[in-house]
């Protein structure tokens, strides 16, 4: 049975002048433990869909359920990793990771234990008392991942988490994420606009269309991991998905040109 059910989801943003249909007729079933990438150009509604699952912005119509229960608000059972890290700058690394557990009023000794384990898991032990301002982007994202892992939520939502990182750090964190996912067996919904990233990571890639956001292709990826981005199979899929994404990107670009012309 599916863990996350996205049923007939529509999302309309009302703006003066015209309404923008961000999501239309989205139907997805996501099994527990699956690594799903939402792929598409800017404006395709992939982040909107993720925010709907997170509970930040509920759909205009349709329902999203987790284990049969409809989502009505954000909650720690669906931990979110943001592209901008969103670490609390006034808390040290350890305090950031512990915050979610303190909210749940866990026993301090237990919190300490969990924090130490996560610091170890993400190779952050030497940084436990640093403030976020003293960390590199890659390190900050490790802390953000640890903060969500601390919640021990079955579902992890990631909104272009590695988008702001350089290519090497990015690959490094992708491998770390796969290692953690393997170890902890979370369900991951991962938003990205990088075709290569989605093929490298996902069990399943959902390609979305530019306005209105619909599912253009629901592509399973069965290549064994670790995947080799230079292999023929990898590149064949990359070409195919690239073609799909670029069609949508073209529509996005045309739209922008039209808007510019009106101005």
């Amino acid at each position: 049975m599916a863990q996350i059910l996205i049923n007939n989801v529509h999302k309309v943003f009302k703006t003066p002048g015209k309404d923008v249909v961000a999501l239309q007729d989205i139907n997805l079933e996501i099994k527990a433990g699956q690594f799903v990438c939402l792929l598409g150009p800017s404006g395709c509604g992939k982040s909107t869909l993720l925010n709907a699952v997170a509970g930040f912005a509920l759909p205009s119509s349709g329902v999203i359920t987790v284990d049969g229960k409809p989502i009505t608000a954000p909650g720690p059972e669906r931990g979110m990793v943001f592209q901008e890290y969103a670490l609390f700058p006034w808390m040290t690394v350890a305090q950031n990771i512990a915050f979610g557990l303190e909210i749940q009023k866990k026993d301090p000794a237990e919190i300490d234990l969990t924090v130490n384990q996560l610091l170890e898991l993400l190779h952050l032990t030497d940084f436990r008392d640093r403030f976020p301002k003293d960390l590199s982007g890659g390190m900050r994202q490790r802390v953000a991942i640890a903060r969500v892992l601390a919640l021990d939520s079955p579902i992890m939502l990631m909104d272009e988490p590695f988008g702001a990182l350089d290519a090497l750090t990015r690959r490094n964190l992708q491998d770390e994420l796969l290692r953690i996912w393997n170890k902890l067996g979370k369900t991951i919904i991962f938003v990205t606009h990088s075709i290569e990233e989605s093929i490298y990571l996902a069990d399943r890639i959902v390609v979305m269309t530019y306005r209105p956001g619909t599912v253009k292709r629901d592509q399973p990826v069965t290549m064994p991991r670790p995947r080799d981005p230079s292999s023929a199979e990898f590149n064949e899929l990359k070409r195919e998905l690239g073609r799909l994404v670029m069609e949508e990107q073209q529509r996005h670009a045309n739209d922008e040109m039209k808007l510019a012309a009106v101005d």
Binding site: F56, F82, E84, F88, G100, I103, K133
Partner: protein, 270 residues
């Protein structure tokens, strides 16, 4: 060595000015009554600092050492500044947090605040005397008003500028309203609030001197006004320098506190 060099560099202009002043006085360029020489001021300052009475039986040495007029005045002024500031800032902080967090409360109170804010604390003096009579209470009132608005305005601005991403992250972690307020909004607003505190203390310091000129009979503000009546310009200047030193000490203290509380903040070296 570098520190010594920096100090010498910073001391250059004040020392030069003192030398010019001293030389001018010795050459008889300034009237001794209107502008006494720096040495005369220093001698007066020292006399003002020393205990006025011989040590009494049973009085502790430390108490006697600080029994002079200057320590007493400085203490009185400082006490008024701190009490008044604590009242003003203590009211402004929760009120500012509420106004910043709730648009409804903000819309309700903002017009009143905008009308009251431009009234200088000094303009409250007549009312303060009518309401509170003489002694410390009118000073507390005036200083509290002086400290209230900077802290209030900055607290409101601080709460309003809190980045939405922090609120989203905290909601995602399951934070309650109260946790959100105390652990996210308040710390995120701290840089603004502390800037307000610094301005508020500065205002409190201005107001204390003025308020001491009207309703009390000790404190640095009272003393320099009193000295004028006797044409003791050396004492006036000695009192002014003490005010300057006290202000510097307070600002240094607040700045230290600032650096400690904001050690997480970007762009702060410590």
């Amino acid at each position: 060595m570098q520190k010594l060099k920096d100090f010498a560099h910073g001391a250059l202009v004040p020392v030069l000015l003192l030398l010019l002043w001293e030389a001018g006085s010795r050459l008889g360029l300034f009237s001794e009554v209107l502008l006494p020489s720096p040495t005369a001021v220093a001698i007066k300052w020292w006399a003002y600092l020393l205990p006025g009475q011989p040590q009494e039986a049973g009085q502790s040495y430390l108490a006697w050492l600080f029994s002079g007029e200057l320590p007493h005045d400085a203490y009185s002024s400082l006490f008024r500044v701190i009490t008044g500031f604590l009242i003003g800032a203590g009211l402004a902080l929760p009120f500012g947090l509420l106004m910043g967090a709730s648009p409804r409360i903000y819309d309700l109170f903002n017009p009143l605040m905008q009308i009251l804010r431009p009234i200088p604390p000094i303009a409250y003096i007549p009312l303060a005397i009518l309401w509170f009579g003489l002694g410390n209470p009118p000073s507390f009132f005036l200083i509290a008003i002086g400290a209230f608005f900077p802290v209030l305005m900055n607290t409101i601005a601080g709460v309003r500028q809190v980045d939405g991403i922090f609120l989203r992250a905290a909601r995602n972690l399951g934070a309650s309203q109260w946790t959100m307020f105390t652990r996210v909004i308040l710390p995120a607003a701290t840089p603004y609030i502390l800037a307000g505190v610094r301005i508020g203390i500065g205002t409190a310091f201005i107001v204390v001197i003025v308020s001491e000129m009207i309703a009390v009979n000790d404190g640095l503000g009272f003393r320099i006004l009193e000295a004028r009546e006797f044409m003791w310009s050396d004492k006036i200047i000695a009192g002014m320098i003490t005010i300057g030193l006290l202000g510097l000490a307070i600002d240094t203290g607040v700045s230290r506190l600032n650096n400690h509380l904001l050690r997480w903040h970007r762009g702060l070296e410590h």
